[in-house]
């Protein structure tokens, strides 16, 4: 049964990681990355590595999406200003 649990979480990680690579839009990619972080944390916990799971959760659930979306906002704002002045 434990093997089953490892298999399920591994498949979740593989599916989410593939979706993250396939996403083209950075905003949607950030959403997939947030879910990937949670899936990885589950995998690490199942493999008895809660320290790594905590690191992954700490970085992946709020900090990385915030950095990504702030960068997207900055780029969009610059684009809008350029459009206005031209």
């Amino acid at each position: 049964m434990n093997d089953m649990l490892i298999a399920v979480t591994l498949l979740l990680v593989a599916a989410t990681a593939t979706a993250a690579v396939a996403a083209r839009d950075p905003v949607r990619q950030a959403l997939v990355l947030a879910v990937l972080g949670v899936a990885l944390a589950l995998l690490f916990t199942v493999l008895q590595a809660p320290d790594v799971a905590l690191s992954q959760l700490a970085v992946g659930s709020a900090l990385t999406p915030l950095l990504l979306l702030l960068s997207v906002r900055k780029v969009r704002r610059r684009g809008r200003r350029k459009g206005r002045t031209e």
Partner: protein, 252 residues
């Protein structure tokens, strides 16, 4: 070198690396076993130094020098971000208007902020006992502060976040780690050797010698580094604007 030769060189190097990795994989212990030569030694050492969390013992005692490198990488990365994302001469700051967040969201942010801060500091303080440590707890504590931006607006966050102090905290945390390392040399053993303090009683807060102190130093460094990093990103995304083309001082 022509493009062809370069590609051949790359293919050769890649094939060599693949062969070596494959050979290494054949020698790995089986997946999921409960015996591992390195694991057994690491656990024995961490129990000898009465550190309940063997991972923390590896990170902050047996391989504390590696952790110093990792911490320095974060420090250097934040330093680089501060330099790159500074306000340049052709940019100005525009104050964002107060934002109106739905009351339940604001209330949630105000209640969760101290709770998340406490949990972050709890994770830092108990690195030697339970999963967690300076890095994880520091990031949680730094994230907690930013609930003020999410639940209200950037002005509210700026009021409780003097960036200068956090920059000083970042440097202090890094130097505290180095000072603890050098203290080992002065005490007559080696750099970052865990011989300064008594090992204490197993599974209590004061166990593990210098592990809790190093954890605290890393926690401070990481929390301050994350706050400074996010401050630069928030400044750029929310406040800093380029001046309109042709005008040196934009009068908005």
């Amino acid at each position: 070198m022509s493009r062809r030769v370069r590609l051949w060189l790359l293919a050769l190097g890649g094939a060599g690396l693949a062969a070596l990795l494959f050979a290494a994989c054949l020698e790995l212990p089986g997946f999921g076993g409960d015996r591992h030569p390195y694991g057994e030694r690491a656990v024995r050492e961490s129990l000898a130094r009465r550190t309940a969390n063997a991972v923390s013992s590896v990170n902050f005692d047996q391989r504390a020098f590696d952790t110093m490198g990792e911490m320095t990488i974060l420090f250097a990365a934040v330093l680089g971000t501060v330099v790159l994302l500074r306000q340049t001469r052709d940019e100005h700051r525009a104050q964002p208007a107060p934002a109106h967040v739905a009351p339940p969201v604001r209330r949630y942010a105000l209640i969760t902020l101290p709770v998340a801060l406490l949990v972050g500091l709890y994770v830092v303080a108990h690195g030697q006992l339970s999963p967690g440590g300076g890095f994880q707890g520091g990031v949680v504590a730094a994230t907690a502060l930013h609930l003020l931006y999410l639940g209200a607006d950037y002005r509210a966050l700026e009021r409780v976040r003097p960036v200068g102090l956090y920059e000083v905290g970042d440097a202090l945390g890094t130097s505290a780690y180095l000072v603890l390392g050098i203290a080992g040399v002065l005490a007559g053993t080696a750099f970052l050797a865990n011989t300064l303090l008594p090992y204490g009683t197993f599974n209590t807060l004061s166990s593990g010698g210098t592990v809790p102190l190093l954890n605290a130093a890393v926690g401070m460094e990481v929390a301050c580094a994350a706050v400074v990093l996010l401050a630069r990103f928030l400044d750029q995304a929310v406040e800093i604007e380029e001046n309109a083309v042709g005008t040196e001082e934009s009068g908005e």
